[in-house]
Symmetry: C2
Subunit: 295 residues, 2 copies
């Protein structure tokens, strides 16, 4: 019998988790519940939310098998706990549930920054339990359990950020879990992750917001699709992005400084009337971008 070398069978075989608790059943948490069940990666999925109506909808959608408003009750007996709330809630939630974790339980998060999260949560793990920082780079403009989608993770990248203290077995099993829902897994340190994600995600957000603010009064009728595309992410939720940027402040500030220098190269070339330099800067950007997006 031939083995398929691509498609859903690409993921290595993994030991399914007996019970997975997902704390925060929004778009990411709900989609993960659906995907884990579809992949046969979880025997049972328990959802923890802060509104009964959301949990009921998660059950209706088949994203979780049961739901509770009490995090400590929710994690009891689970061998995997997924933190899928806003990043700012990870630490209070873990303080709340640490005493109720099953022996040997693995805790992961899905936050978009890692160094501060890993530094805060790793020391809170009871002996025998492991924390594995994760950033599944999947999302959507849409939010909430109503838009949960088992295919959300397919074809996307998940960064897993173990430290010297993370048990290798836990890292491997977590990596296999993300692969089971269709993701490509990259392993790197939390600090490397944060620097790269500052450049690839957080700086673009700041750049887009600053670009909107640079539009003078009266220029509105002149905006075209270039401006609209370039600034699209500036319409994102300011509170969510405040928290993301705050948890990665050093790396983002560094990326902004390098970006300001890059802009200065363009400004000086224009002021000097150096069309060749302008063209070279543009051509290098075009080549790099086409390489990145595979054009």
């Amino acid at each position: 019998m031939a083995t398929s070398s691509k498609g859903p069978n690409l993921a290595p075989p993994m030991t399914p988790w007996n019970q997975v608790t997902i704390i925060g059943t929004g778009l990411i948490g709900g989609s993960l519940g659906l995907a884990l069940k579809q992949a046969g990666a979880a025997g049972r999925v328990v959802g923890v939310g802060h509104r009964r109506s959301t949990l009921d909808l998660a059950i209706d959608r088949g994203a979780v098998d049961a739901g509770t408003l009490d995090p400590a009750e929710g994690v009891a007996g689970s061998d995997l706990v997924v933190l899928a709330t806003a990043v700012g809630l990870f630490e209070p939630v873990v303080r709340d549930v640490a005493g109720a974790l099953a022996p040997g339980a693995v805790v992961v998060d899905v936050g978009s920054t890692k160094a501060r999260v890993v530094r805060a949560l790793e020391p809170l793990m009871p002996a025998g339990c492991a924390f594995v920082g994760c950033h599944p780079i999947a999302g959507s403009e849409k939010r909430g359990i109503a838009h949960a989608d088992a295919g959300l993770f397919r074809g996307a990248t998940c960064v897993v950020t173990p430290t010297d203290a993370t048990p290798a077995a836990a890292v491997d099993r977590v990596a296999a879990t993300w692969q089971a829902v269709g993701m490509t897994v990259l392993r790197m340190t939390p600090e490397d992750h944060d620097r790269l994600v500052a450049e690839s995600s957080h700086l673009p957000h700041v750049a887009a917001a600053a670009l909107v603010r640079a539009l003078g009064e009266g220029a509105e009728p002149l905006v075209g699709t270039g401006w609209t595309d370039t600034t699209r992410i500036a319409s994102g939720d300011p509170v969510v992005w405040r928290d993301i940027l705050a948890t990665n402040a050093d790396a983002v500030a560094g990326a902004i400084a390098r970006y300001q220098e890059g802009l200065e190269a363009f400004r000086q070339a224009l002021v000097a009337g150096n069309a060749e330099a302008v063209q070279r800067l543009l051509a290098e950007a075009q080549r790099r971008r086409d390489g990145v997006v595979g054009a």
Copy 2:
């Protein structure tokens, strides 16, 4: 009989041009030929190109009625001449055709910057002929006559930039022509146009290119739709954009400087750990953008 207050009948009645010459039958020139004929705004359309095959295709597509490789021959007898080549060719082309213009002919361009163009071309007009700077803000990722589309201009804005020397009758007739092909016309000075378009179009291009250049090695697998959208225009043609930026260098350099200052506000708020300030900057950008795009 009721008069429709919206739709294609919104444009005021205009006196059709007897013959329009379009120099440069690419996407914009070809689309304009189609649109003028569809609107009944031109008795006859002559195309001027530098390749016979392009002109033949323009004729096949119905964008022009006749074509020639000789600009001076092309403008003979036309009451409207449209410059639709690359901006860098406007001045040599006008020097070439000035002596062949019909008495009273009106010359317009479709370039995306105005102050340098107007300053260069206005003095080249023979007595009795008028130059009217125009920037129809319509375009597409696609290029070339093969993608010409009579609907390209519909619903978009055209900026018309008369000077104190421009005859009012010519400005009015040109404005009515753009309205006839479905555009909303704004009138402003060439300098105001260039400042606003620097903020709405040229700065975004520089910002996108610099953002690509700020992506460190190894960050490629982490880019998501945010990065891809924000940098999309950086895949534009470096030579075309070199020329656009070069003809608006002062205004673009000023816009870059203001953008650098705006980024500095974000950087300082992050370094200071001032989450409130970060949120306020993001929220203001979100509100402004949603206002501009009408969300």
